[in-house]
């Protein structure tokens, strides 16, 4: 009962602290503190609930248990991180987003492709990863290459859709201006349409960050060397080592948020002029 009470108190306290924070003058400190407070609140509530209701370890471990496990398994977490995030997710993300971007340009450039490739591309890209994963493993082997391939497929579609949409985002007068300069396709692209497309492109890039991570991890469920976050999670579930499972999930969440955060930061730099960045 005590723990349940603890959970309730933590929830109320965290919430009111955040409401108070939001009322303060906007500052770097506040914008960092708020999510932190929110997170700590969540964790405290979790701890309280798990202990209060005596939920079995093999169903849901308490945050303290997970933290302890993380502390003792840093080496495992690190090699898994390198295998999955650096080798699998990152390389696939770069290739996938790059390919989607170029495809979007091609589609935009040639109406023939727009009419032919876009529908077919949508179709191919919609192949669910879960189905693709075993096939990719069959084709590219157990190593990180097959993970990268899956990430490529996963990030491709959101990036493509957003970029294609973005390339149509400049307004009529802005395009007319380019016409008056007799600016050719490429110049119009570089000087007008790409900058105008950036808010959309970054949407795709941001959605891609988390997809890349999920993709790389999930792909490892379907075949991997004996390391990697997905491998660890799937085998640990089998062994009911849920503390390790959650430790890996925490690493994934931190890595994913950091990845997203970096893209958001770059977005702020690149699309500073967009109303959504200004107000």
């Amino acid at each position: 009962m005590g723990w349940v009470l603890f959970a309730i108190v933590a929830w109320v306290a965290g919430l009111s602290l955040n409401v108070w924070l939001a009322r303060q003058r906007p500052s770097r400190g506040a914008s960092l503190a708020a999510p932190l407070v929110f997170g700590i609140t969540l964790i405290a509530v979790w701890e309280g609930v798990v202990r209060g209701f005596e939920i079995n370890q093999v169903l849901l471990p308490a945050p303290s248990v997970i933290a302890a496990r993380m502390a003792t398994s840093l080496d495992i977490l690190w090699i898994d991180f390198v295998q999955t995030v650096i080798k699998g997710a990152l390389s696939g993300y770069i290739i996938g987003c790059g390919a989607a971007f170029l495809t979007a340009l091609a589609i935009d450039r040639f109406p023939f492709l727009q009419r032919g490739l876009l529908p077919v591309g949508n179709f191919v890209a919609a192949l669910p990863i879960i189905g693709m994963a075993p096939i990719m493993v069959m084709w590219f082997g157990f190593g990180w290459q097959s993970k990268a391939a899956i990430v490529v497929v996963m990030v491709f579609f959101p990036m493509l859709v957003n970029t294609v949409q973005g390339l149509q985002a400049s307004d009529a007068m802005q395009r007319d201006l380019m016409r008056t300069y007799a600016a050719g396709y490429w110049r119009t692209l570089v000087k007008l349409r790409l900058p105008a497309a950036m808010p959309f492109v970054f949407n795709g890039l941001k959605i891609g960050t988390t997809l890349a991570l999920i993709g790389a991890i999930v792909a490892e469920f379907f075949g991997s060397p004996v390391l990697g976050m997905g491998f660890r999670i799937s085998t640990s579930v089998g062994q009911l080592a849920l503390d390790l499972v959650w430790a890996e999930i925490v690493v994934a969440a931190i890595a994913g948020s950091a990845f997203y955060g970096i893209m958001a930061l770059i977005e702020g730099r690149v699309t500073f002029w967009h109303p959504s960045q200004r107000n």
Partner: protein, 261 residues
């Protein structure tokens, strides 16, 4: 002046927009000759087709009838050879570029060397009295300042033809007078051909060698007034009887157009 070379020539021009509730007849049976070195003002009630006419010349709109030639070729070819600079009715600056960057844009596109770009940007910024605002972003400028930046942008690359759609609409009288003078000087010095849309009768009379009065829906040319004023025009010319007489004629033409609405 009639013997000089024809730069812009429209014959039987017709343009109809298709809209969700029926066609809009924007230009009807428009005939016009503009010669090299002419300064032609277009004046007429709001919505009469001035912008549309300018856009046809600039190959931004396709006429549904008749034809236009610029320097003897089609508007498209003229556009492709960068024969004109265009000032839009709204400033239309790119929000991701600073004022300087916006003005530099056409220069970059036309491949002007970097050093010369800087110098030209400086010069036109001076001309429109915006020195010091080079590094600001468009949304940090007042409406009039944005408009001036957009004029600077069209002047920066020195085209032989200038198409200007109410460039001075958002400016105060003093700046406007100043820019009128500057524009006249530029025109006299460089022999540019200028097509200029305005709503100000004095401005039209002060600047033009030819004033085209348009009447609305469907837009037609109601009157073409050749100005007898000398090319050399001090500001004071606006108090002379000739000036007032032309202004009167323009006003009458306009009023007739409004009546026929």
């Amino acid at each position: 002046m009639n013997d000089s070379q024809s730069v812009i020539s429209a014959s039987n021009l017709d343009l109809t927009f298709q809209t969700n509730d029926g066609p809009v007849h924007a230009l009807k049976d428009v005939n016009l000759e503009i010669h090299k070195g002419d300064f032609v003002s277009f004046i007429g009630p709001s919505g009469c087709g001035k912008t549309t006419f300018l856009r046809v010349m600039a190959d931004l709109e396709q006429p549904t009838g008749g034809s236009v030639t610029i320097n003897g070729v089609s508007p498209e070819e003229a556009r492709k050879s960068r024969a004109y600079g265009y000032v839009f009715q709204a400033a239309g600056l790119y929000p991701w570029r600073t004022i300087g960057g916006n003005i530099r844009l056409p220069l970059e596109i036309m491949g002007v060397p970097r050093a010369e770009q800087d110098q030209r940007v400086k010069r036109v910024l001076d001309l429109v009295e915006l020195s010091g605002f080079e590094k600001k972003f468009p949304w940090q400028l007042s409406g009039g300042m944005q408009q001036r930046a957009s004029i600077a942008r069209a002047l920066s690359f020195d085209a032989d033809i200038l198409l200007m759609d109410e460039p001075f609409g958002a400016l105060d009288e003093i700046v406007r007078d100043h820019l009128n003078e500057q524009l006249l000087k530029l025109w006299a010095r460089t022999e540019k051909t200028i097509a200029f849309v305005t709503h100000s009768i004095p401005e039209a009379v002060y600047l033009s060698t030819k004033i085209v009065v348009m009447s609305p829906r469907p837009g037609r040319i109601a009157d073409v007034i050749e100005s007898p004023l000398p090319r050399e025009r001090p500001l004071e010319i606006r108090e002379t009887p000739e000036f007032l007489e032309i202004a009167h004629r323009v006003r009458e033409g306009l009023r007739a157009g409004h009546g026929g609405d």
